[in-house]
């Protein structure tokens, strides 16, 4: 339960209080109004006698004059006591039909006017117990009435510990029927509604509890409500067969006391003062009472009602006190509403006690059952509050979740970016490493060997130029093969060709370059491409150095599986001696091994042929290779 600000609470509290007060006032006013009809004769005095005579006992019988409503303990000498009640009323004119209204015909009975039977309702006998407790309205046959004094006679029997007989109203139909409808509604309909409501809501709460066993507070309340519903149902059973009377009464005690016990435990739990000892005492007290009734039966009925039930009062009052102090302390909407509901129920029970004990001049209508709907309302409110709270929480959780997902996404994106950066930087490092290695193995070592040679021997200028040219050429190859963004070797090969053509042309040699089945692109890893170019360059350098050729042909044949470079010259041709000691040829072979290519060098009739075969799949299985020419 969420604490709310006081201004809101105060307003809420006032609203709730006003609502309950209004309800109570309306109730009282309507009931009072039912009595304030001027044309209705209200019979306030009557006479009664104890007699099981089938006809009205004579005036000489033991008639006692009493005030209505009559409510005294029943004589205890026998279980079933038969009564005759009679009352007089005066009529001035008979122009209008008169109706007789019993606001509450508590124990049933046969009703006569001047000896004529007007209406009959069941009354207690050897086979059944009657708890009629309903208003009754009958037309008095006009012929049975006469001007002046008339007499009403009622015959009934009582088994209940108290002898109760309500008031009698005589009057015209309209006023009487209005009063009757009103009474019927309050005495009967509201009780039925409240019973139905209790049982339905109780069942609903029990289902809820079954689904969520940890919600003990609700479960407890559900049982309370069901107990109350059953109690009301039992209490309002008008005809009880005497065979079941004991069981009925037991059930009544069980449910009534059970309700008191459970609601007290509930109230303690609600006010966060749950106490195991208190609970055990209450339950034991409850069970002991029920067991005692089961053992001793009707004889201890009066004792149970007078002392046992009253015994619950201090315990119950303690729980009420707890909940009221809790409401005062917490001042949350739910706690305050619960406190008010308790107060309302207390008010009703005080009312019930007051009418039962005839402290006030109100009809004997019991309103305690109306307290339960107030409780229900509060509990539904609390449940609703929790439901809405949970809903809001779920929504906020969802929002938070979305937020977190978004944050996580952002983080993920960031880490991906970081990863990408790292990969790029890793690739750059690798590339740098490769270039360094290349510098070391290629240009670097070439420069170094040139330097050594220049240091140790007197080299002719031509040789130095050639050596340096080699260094430069190698550097160009490195730059060409590393520059492109894509892995296509064709432009790199083209660049090489472009340069070599110029070189050979400048030397006055014929340089031919032929492409066969040239694809749209030739994708190779840059280092593989570089090695291919180096082998090719070495081959061409060898021609320049040793072959003394006039025509040089470079042929490149492409296929899906490989590509082949064939270099042919018309020079003096390679001799075996050269091949064996030549560092250049060894270098070429080594590079071939590195990239999985094959190299064949053979002497032709005139000149030399170098064939380099580079399998594409072995180098890069993923390389795409497509023919368009």
């Amino acid at each position: 339960m969420k604490p709310l600000n006081w201004a809101f609470l105060a307003r809420n509290f006032r609203c709730a209080a006003l609502l309950l007060l209004n309800l109570y006032l309306i109730l009282c006013c309507t009931l009072a109004q039912a009595q304030a009809e001027p044309s209705v004769i209200k019979i306030k005095r009557a006479e009664f006698t104890i007699s099981d005579s089938p006809t009205i006992p004579p005036a000489s019988a033991d008639w006692h004059l009493i005030d209505l409503p009559h409510h005294v303990p029943k004589p205890t000498d026998r279980e079933l006591v038969h009564y005759w009640y009679k009352a007089d009323f005066d009529i001035d004119n008979l122009s209008e039909p008169l109706w007789i209204l019993f606001p509450q015909l508590l124990s049933g009975g046969d009703v006569y006017v001047n000896g004529a039977l007007v209406g009959e309702k069941p009354w207690a006998n050897e086979h059944q117990e009657i708890r009629w407790y309903l208003p009754e309205l009958w037309l008095i046959p006009p012929l049975s009435l006469h001007e002046g004094s008339n007499e009403i006679e009622v015959r009934l029997a009582i088994r209940e510990p108290f002898t109760s007989f309500g008031e009698i109203d005589i009057g015209p139909e309209k006023a009487q029927r209005n009063a009757f409808n009103l009474l019927l509604f309050w005495e009967d309909t509201t009780a039925d509604i409240s019973t139905a409501l209790c049982l339905l809501t109780g069942a609903f709460i029990m289902v809820f509890w079954a689904r969520r066993p940890q919600e003990k507070l609700y479960g407890l309340f559900g049982v309370c409500v069901i107990f109350w519903g059953l109690r009301t149902l039992l209490l309002r059973t008008p005809v009880i067969p005497i065979d079941f009377f004991l069981m009925w009464r037991l059930a009544y005690y069980f449910t009534t006391a059970g309700f008191i016990v459970l609601i007290s435990i509930f109230m303690l739990k609600f006010s966060e003062r749950s106490n195991l000892i208190y609970n055990r005492v209450l339950i034991t007290y409850w069970m002991t009472g029920c067991a005692a009734f089961l053992i001793f039966g009707m004889p201890i009925r009066h004792f149970l009602e007078a002392f046992w039930l009253t015994g619950f009062l201090p315990l119950n009052l303690y729980a009420v006190f707890c909940i009221l102090s809790y409401a005062a302390r917490q001042r949350t909407r739910n706690a305050v509403s619960m406190g008010l509901a308790i107060l309302f129920a207390l008010g009703l029970s005080v009312h019930d006690l007051a009418v039962q004990e005839a402290w006030i001049d109100w009809p004997e209508i019991y309103l305690m059952h109306l307290g339960i709907p107030a409780f229900l309302l509060v509990m539904v409110g609390i449940l609703l509050d929790r439901f809405l709270g949970t809903l809001a929480q779920v929504e906020s959780v969802n929002e938070q979740l979305e937020l977190r997902v978004a944050t996580r996404e952002k983080e993920l994106k960031y880490s991906y970016e970081q990863l990408g950066k790292l990969e790029r930087s890793h690739a750059a490092t690798e590339e740098r490493h490769r270039i360094m290695q290349d510098m070391h193995d290629g240009v670097g070592s070439q420069l170094l060997s040139t330097l050594m040679m220049a240091q140790h021997t007197e080299l002719p200028q031509k040789t130095i130029v050639a050596l340096l040219q080699e260094c430069l050429d190698d550097m160009r190859l490195v730059i060409d093969s590393l520059t492109p963004d894509d892995k296509d070797l064709l432009p790199v090969l083209g660049n090489f060709r472009y340069r070599m053509e110029a070189r050979f042309r400048a030397l006055g040699l014929n340089f031919f370059w032929k492409n066969h089945a040239m694809p749209e692109a030739l994708e190779l890893e840059p280092d593989v491409g570089l090695n291919v170019l180096r082998i090719l360059q070495e081959a061409l350098a060898n021609i320049l150095k040793h072959a003394r050729a006039n025509n040089i042909l470079v042929e490149i044949s492409f296929s899906a599986e490989s590509f082949q470079i064939r270099v042919e010259d018309d020079g003096v041709g390679i001799n075996e001696e050269n091949r064996a000691k030549g560092r250049g040829v060894n270098n070429m072979q080594n590079r071939c091994k590195k990239i999985g290519a094959t190299l064949t060098i053979q002497r032709l009739q005139q000149g030399t042929e170098v064939i380099l075969n580079i399998p594409l799949q072995a180098i890069d299985p993923a390389s795409s290779y497509s023919f368009t020419i």
């Binding site: 432009p491 060709r497 472009y498 749209e520």
Partner: protein
């Protein structure tokens, strides 16, 4: 008719070599040189040459600026950039600035003279890697240019195709493609039944287009940034 040549180069060895090559040929005349950017600006302003040879790595000013200046002041001159490795990044930059040729520092004297002659004759040199780079500049995102081009008529909505269509003629585009695959001028010429001389002219035209296009892009960028009013 004698072709006048001015050289801006901070390396005295190279400068003297280039000067020697120019002076050794009767149809060329050396008319001035500068060894840094500031002198280069003065040279361009004061001396009108048919061809300027410009080194990019000057100590004070980026050679690109000198290329722009020369093209601006003498629209009918040819600017050649002197480069160590003819690496495409530098060459492309120079072409976009307005250079129509490039010359390697270790070129033979024959090559140097041949290159300038070709230039004055309306042609330009190009290496496959530079051709490839220009293609990428024109169509930066499309890997298979031929396929793209074949379906260009249907895909009129494609901005890149639209630009390349606008920039280059069909023939220029074909030439560029063939160049990027490593075919020689001669091979391209025989493939399309044109002389290798015409191929060289196509290349020069492509260079001019690239320079104009990059200036247009610069104007567009500047307009977008609010430097120039539209």
């Amino acid at each position: 008719m004698v072709t006048t040549v001015a050289i801006i180069e901070d390396n005295i060895e190279f400068l003297s070599r280039f000067r020697h090559v120019i002076e050794s040929s009767p149809d060329f005349s050396f008319i001035g040189s500068a060894e840094n950017g500031a002198d280069g600006i003065a040279l361009i302003n004061n001396v009108k040459a048919d061809a300027y040879l410009v080194d990019l790595g000057l100590p004070d000013i980026n050679g690109i600026e000198l290329i722009k200046l020369a093209v601006n002041i003498h629209p009918d001159c040819d600017v050649m950039v002197i480069t160590m490795f003819a690496d495409d990044a530098h060459v492309i930059q120079s072409i976009e600035a307005g250079a129509t040729g490039y010359i390697l520092k270790d070129s033979t004297s024959l090559d140097i003279l041949e290159c300038i002659r070709t230039l004055r004759d309306g042609g330009s040199p190009i290496s496959p890697l530079i051709a490839r780079r220009i293609l990428q500049r024109i169509q930066p995102v499309i890997p298979n240019a031929t396929v793209q081009r074949a379906s260009a008529s249907e895909m009129t909505g494609n901005a890149n195709v639209a630009i390349s269509n606008e920039l280059l003629s069909e023939r220029e585009y074909q030439v560029l493609q063939a160049l990027s695959k490593g075919l020689s001028f001669k091979e391209i010429g025989s493939k399309y039944y044109i002389s290798s001389h015409t191929v060289a002219r196509h290349v020069k035209k492509i260079y001019r287009v690239l320079a104009v296009h990059s200036r247009g892009e610069a104007v567009y960028e500047a307009t977008k940034l609010g430097i120039l009013s539209a």
